[in-house]
């Protein structure tokens, strides 16, 4: 970066700056990792030894049975299945509907198209509270309260974020193939399905990932729509478990930490499996403005 005429002073200063950068990065990383390390350590203690002072970072012996207890106190398996039963159809609906809409906005010409697209973008920042109460009344009128439907069905109408992201991606795909296929007599739907979609895989994966994580992490939706404990999703179940344990006198922090770690784990795994999609999706979201 610095010119070749740099004197000895500048070299020393550069080295010092690099060293400082590493010191800062390593210490900040420690601060960010510390809560997780502590969580893991707590989860391997027993209910009493987490309170011992000074705290033993490496519990001997590690109490793996905390995890067995966590998954029984908190019906982890059932909550996981419930979460998947919501997140999977929601994600499928979101990807399919958003792709259709994005294709329309990117490739077809019709009156008021740009106006509709700007309305779509404008709703991205809309605070959900102004629609929440009528939607609750609507879904309860339909008899959908305490079912997964209010959490799944809205996914089938696309979201502004997904539509925007896919539309931008479709615009970068050359129209040559579309036109060739259209001349060959293929319908629009067929062009969309067999010509455009296969080329848009990376964007589709990004959208699917964000829809899935969004549904997976949702707390407010399950909180207002699901009443029966046996329908609780992971987030709702974890909160119910917290209430139950905190209410029970001696708080088993080890069990709570084990359960929280189990709930966090899939996100972390997904992140490592699809790191570049996360980064791209977040960066893309910021280009809206």
């Amino acid at each position: 970066m610095s010119g070749s005429t740099a004197g000895e002073g500048t070299v020393v200063r550069r080295l010092a700056r690099i060293a400082l950068t590493y010191v800062a990065l390593v210490s900040l990383s420690c601060v960010f990792l510390l809560p997780v390390a502590w969580m893991l350590s707590s989860s391997l203690h027993d209910a009493a030894s987490v309170f011992e002072q000074p705290f033993r970072w490496v519990p001997i012996p590690p109490r793996w049975e905390t995890y067995a207890r966590a998954v029984t106190v908190f019906p982890f398996g059932r909550s996981l299945l419930n979460t998947l039963a919501v997140a999977v159809p929601y994600t499928v609906g979101m990807v399919v509907s958003s792709a259709l809409v994005a294709y329309g906005f990117a490739r077809l010409r019709f009156p008021a198209r740009d106006f509709l697209f700007s309305v779509c973008l404008a709703t991205m920042m809309l605070p959900g509270q102004v629609t929440m109460i009528p939607l609750y009344m609507l879904f309860s009128r339909l008899g959908w309260v305490d079912t997964f439907l209010p959490l799944i069905i809205p996914g089938f109408f696309g979201s502004p974020f997904s539509i925007f992201l896919l539309r931008q991606f479709f615009l970068t795909i050359p129209t040559d193939c579309d036109e060739a296929a259209l001349l060959d007599g293929a319908g629009r739907l067929r062009v969309f399905w067999s010509v455009v979609l296969p080329q848009a895989k990376p964007a589709l994966v990004t959208v699917a990932l964000f829809a899935f994580i969004g549904s997976w992490n949702d707390f407010f939706g399950p909180l207002i729509y699901l009443n029966s404990p046996e329908r609780a999703t992971l987030t709702l179940g974890l909160n119910m478990m917290k209430t139950q344990i905190v209410g029970a006198g001696t708080v088993e922090w080890n069990t709570l930490m084990a359960a929280s770690l189990l709930v966090m784990l899939p996100n972390v795994i997904l992140f490592f499996a699809a790191q570049k999609h996360f980064i791209r999706g977040i960066a893309a979201g910021s280009f809206v403005s």
């Binding site: 809560p35 987490v50 605070p127 109460i133 009344m137 974890l238 992140f271």
Partner: protein, 300 residues
């Protein structure tokens, strides 16, 4: 061509239908409800501006929750933006293990808020919690955090710093799109690092800065889950922390709507929040427009 128009409408119809029935319709109905006295179980009765009058002049908890929300927003957003920018600047220096560092800072922001809240509930434990244990090492006796009326909000602000990963990634993308030649030219002219930061980096990333500030603000004004999970005690309805210190606006709205079933009143609260968010966003854009233009003019 007419066929093309029809096909266009068909393709975008999922969104149009969703917009009409899940966004515009409910918005209009919620506005109507806000002028009524309505419970879940009885038909709405028109009361005019009564809900708004009561919210703004009678209900002490509205102002309390507004104050709490402002406090949280005013401290959390600038601190998060500053930390995110600092982390992004550190990572932009072409360090080795950049991906590993980025992962460490980013992952907390994609994990589950409820699980993160339960973790931090334990971190903030007054006697055995991580934070007070660490503070104790330095001879500082930590406060009661979530159980203290004074420290409950600062605790949530502190916790929000753990989730700056998303903002950081946005800054990083913006930093990496700053042309290297600008920095090289400035170096040749003998500009100091500070000068380069304020004259090149900051103007070039000002759109990302604005985006993070606005999105951060909108998010902070709607803070809910952390407060609900961390400061609710055992009985439902008692969420809000010591003396309502963490009764944030959306938490208050939730309680009115889904614990007291006062749908009309809660709808009016929602519209107060909506007007507030739109107003503050427009204000931020106004202020920024002058700023970004000025900075843009300088680098051009």
């Amino acid at each position: 061509m007419r066929g093309d128009s029809l096909r266009g409408y068909l393709f975008v119809s999922p969104w149009v239908v969703g917009f009409l029935f899940l966004t515009a319709g409910p918005m209009a109905y919620s506005l109507y409800l806000s002028f009524t006295s309505s419970s879940m179980f009885s038909p709405p009765r028109w009361v005019g501006l009564e809900n708004y009058r009561s919210i703004l002049t009678e209900d002490p908890l509205t102002w309390k929750s507004l104050w709490n929300t402002f406090f949280y927003t005013v401290f959390s957003v600038p601190l998060c933006v500053a930390l995110a920018l600092a982390l992004a600047l550190l990572l932009d220096t072409r360090v080795r293990f950049m991906r590993a560092f980025r992962t460490v800072f980013f992952v907390p922001s994609v994990t589950n808020v409820v699980a993160v809240s339960v973790l931090w509930l334990w971190v903030f434990h007054p006697e055995a919690g991580l934070l007070n244990t660490v503070l104790g090492r330095f001879g500082i006796e930590g406060p009661l955090w979530l159980q203290s009326e004074v420290w409950a909000k600062p605790a949530l602000v502190l916790m929000s710093l753990w989730g700056v990963g998303g903002m950081m990634v946005i800054f990083l993308a913006a930093l990496q799109s700053v042309p290297r030649e600008l920095h090289e030219a400035a170096l040749i002219d003998g500009a100091s690092a500070t000068r380069r930061f304020f004259s090149i980096t900051l103007p070039m990333i000002s759109p990302a800065l604005l985006f993070n500030l606005i999105v951060g603000m909108i998010g902070a004004l709607q803070v809910f889950t952390q407060a609900f999970v961390m400061t609710g005690s055992v009985q439902p309805g008692s969420e809000g922390g010591p003396n309502n210190a963490t009764l944030f606006f959306v938490l208050y709205l939730y309680k009115k709507a889904f614990q007291e079933f006062r749908m009309g009143y809660a709808s009016a609260l929602a519209w107060v929040l909506f007007v507030l968010i739109v107003g503050l966003t427009v204000l931020a854009l106004r202020v920024a427009k002058r700023r970004v233009f000025y900075l843009g003019g300088e680098e051009r």
